[in-house]
Symmetry: C2
Amino acid sequence: MCEANVYMLQEDGEKTLVMEAVDKVIPGKDELFMENIFGERKTIKARIVEMALVDHQILLKKADDTAE
Amino acid sequence: MCEANVYMLQEDGEKTLVMEAVDKVIPGKDELFMENIFGERKTIKARIVEMALVDHQILLKKADDTAE
């Protein structure tokens, strides 16, 4: 299976796990919907920073700091 | 390997292949950088519509029609 783990990138560079084994990701305006292979769903205010699919890793940042 | 194929979703609902075997995806302001497992790179004006990782599929739309 090729699902990925989704992490939130903190201000200090640390990563915290948001959801593991994520299959579907649908970005919205200021939020992100995700669903994992267990059928669990989450919508959080975040944007995608980077995806590294071979490493099964999706990095997010809080949507608040999108104003750059 | 858990790379994905990236498709552009057309107005008529058709999908056209943008790049296959994509490993890294980095969204920018109005554009999307991607790199596949062969080291090929592409930056296109698009946004992610949906990712279905278990299906190895990432759907994009042209960045122009983001105004909803």
